[in-house]
Symmetry: C2
Amino acid sequence: MKEIKQNKNSSSSTTELVQEVARDLEEIPKESRRNFLKRGFFFSVTAAAALGGVGASKLYAQDHVDPKNLPPNNPQWGLKWGRDVNANPYGVPSKYEKNVVRRMVPWLTADKKASVSFTPWQDLKGIIVPNGLHFTRCHGGVVDINPLEWRLLIHGLVDREVVLTLEDIKRYPSISVIHSFECAANNGMEWRGPGINSLQATHGMLACSEWTGVPLKVILDDIGLKPEAKWMFPEGSDPAGVGRSIPIEKVLDDAMLVYAMNGEALRPEQGYPVRLFLPGWEGVLQIKWLKRLKFDTKSWMVREESTKYTMLEADGHALMYNWSMEANSVITYPCPERDLKGVKKGMIMVQGIAWSGKGTITHVDISTDGGINWKPARFTSLVLPKAVTRFEAEVEWDGKPMMLQSRTTDDTGYTQPTAGQLIAARGKEAVYHRNAIQTWEVKSNGEVNDVQIYS
Amino acid sequence: MKEIKQNKNSSSSTTELVQEVARDLEEIPKESRRNFLKRGFFFSVTAAAALGGVGASKLYAQDHVDPKNLPPNNPQWGLKWGRDVNANPYGVPSKYEKNVVRRMVPWLTADKKASVSFTPWQDLKGIIVPNGLHFTRCHGGVVDINPLEWRLLIHGLVDREVVLTLEDIKRYPSISVIHSFECAANNGMEWRGPGINSLQATHGMLACSEWTGVPLKVILDDIGLKPEAKWMFPEGSDPAGVGRSIPIEKVLDDAMLVYAMNGEALRPEQGYPVRLFLPGWEGVLQIKWLKRLKFDTKSWMVREESTKYTMLEADGHALMYNWSMEANSVITYPCPERDLKGVKKGMIMVQGIAWSGKGTITHVDISTDGGINWKPARFTSLVLPKAVTRFEAEVEWDGKPMMLQSRTTDDTGYTQPTAGQLIAARGKEAVYHRNAIQTWEVKSNGEVNDVQIYS
């Protein structure tokens, strides 16, 4: 296996990225290439289908259509006027994409307000998740706040207790940063074995966006933080009044008050007009519809950090304050929702995502035999700290069953564990922070299932 | 003026960015800081307003509210259930943001199908433009294509003429890259003097997104390009059949067939299901609703590159094939739509965007006196090749009139020209590629107007 240079400079140009992909493809074994080159494309779809899977591997298993069989020249598209250029002043997806939506798991929660809907990773590309598809987790429903009425109280151990308007917040310096956003319970339905057969359900409590706002350090430098302040308590405006104790080191490191995501105002589901943002940490800490920030010497031991969002270990103790999300990865194609049924044998492009709340992804390997053999994948997007990173790897699929896995390492040196390793460390009751290697079983008919391999 | 290190590594962490902003603020002159620190916040909004503009400068002109004057504790938000977590499976903005939309200029085009709508930069943050707000330029209306019926013919000087389905395109390796996207006519209404008094109208034919697709080099390596092929002709499926001749060097450098933007499928207005993508080049070249790619030895001299999209020079000659967009910048706050009326005197945070189709932004300066004195701005986002970059600079506004300008340089060494320099080089009939320094006149009442300074 050739050496793939991973974790490249995130500012590499598209030209360099194209050259890298092209070089990778030149490494496809000569035998495959020779067979590929000998093979003509000049037969119809039907003829190609009849030959399906016969002979040696074909790059991308392409069976392009003969131009002689070109369909009628799209008369309905080319011969009449389209819609008005501004038919939708705020644009919407194509009507042919209406199934690309967030989904709920009906039995998971008792009602639809204190519940969760999941990001459809099976349909997404790149690292940015559009705002309309960012997963939603609420403890008391989505709150609609009038930004002109909104106020933020900052009190406790500060030199000057103040109340800020949205206008005040926006007058501070801002920064715009791309980071992943993950619920502590992402993949949590898998602790006791395979759960719902769906990538959206197993890994859909994850998103990645560009966030804009003011660093809390800047506000605290302005109003003055007393030296004895060691914890911050942010409280939200939802009926659950969700709040969590945040250590001051994180507050002064990279915490932000954000008011925009992916260019526009925060969405109501994400805490409009202002939420707390803590790069790489559990989603629940990043309080939405922010109402106040209090500073004190001790943590508050509120409900969401004492009876909830703790991890029950095998010996009966509960682990508290496990804030930052570990390195993790999952294959997004193929997956249960986008399987290989009807897909021709040959070269397929396995695609996936890797992310870490603790640093930058440095490496991703994939396996087709459940973790016995591994080969490195290629990064195909920006590689940024505490962000989703895209990877791809060519896999020769001969129609035999596969056990597909991805395994990632971040720049802290940490490598994603197997399900068995994670259970050995945590037991099966932890609920949160499940970042074990995910296995997709590909059957010979192309069906893809969520299974678990513990070794 | 202190030295600001610009064009930092685009992979710098949020921690580093926060530290940089905090360090910058420490450089605020001591006199301002001393006056700021002496000034208590413990009076009400009304009292603060009465003191408005009195005394020395105040950091961010903040007049935070006394906590004693905290409004009622948001009873309507905290005491009743919010909306269902999945009320919108495909989410939409807050009802309070309904004015953040693309807009048309009614008199600009004869009808609403061959027309343009503009990106509302006055309302945007960060570098990513949400898909619903990406400007739209169509020559025959928005085409709705069924992706299952869509076909792409590749013919002419290739080893194998093929017809690709969307499935074929998606089986190739993909890359996901963040790039700006600009119409050649962006700012084109300003050639003869100040145009519509609106940032959305002057610079709204620009956007920036993460684009996912296959490099054309990969497809051509696969099907084989004949050595005599020097030009590519892409044709769209709109009734105008828009097409342009593209030199083979660009095709093999970084051209892509893209099918996703900002994570999800291309929007219909952007060419769903597949458009050509040419990083940094004029938008019109990047054919939407792509139907065919033909390779040949010569350019085609079609309508859109002979009678349209050429630049008439002062001597009567027309400049053809001026493909890539030059370095450019504009201040987004304040601007005509978001002026300083009612804004308290003191420190204001001037914000803007800079971009170049030819490389990476290396520097941005701002001026408050129409280009006599300049000071460097701070980058507040990723700094990527051929992409929008965000900048900010603190400005002390004492209520006197200002002539606000920004001026950028890219890594080719090119610096944005004044209006006078650009007119001297091009005349006033060029229509396209107007990248002159933009001037916003700030009046003492806070009103902001589009004006031109030629020197």
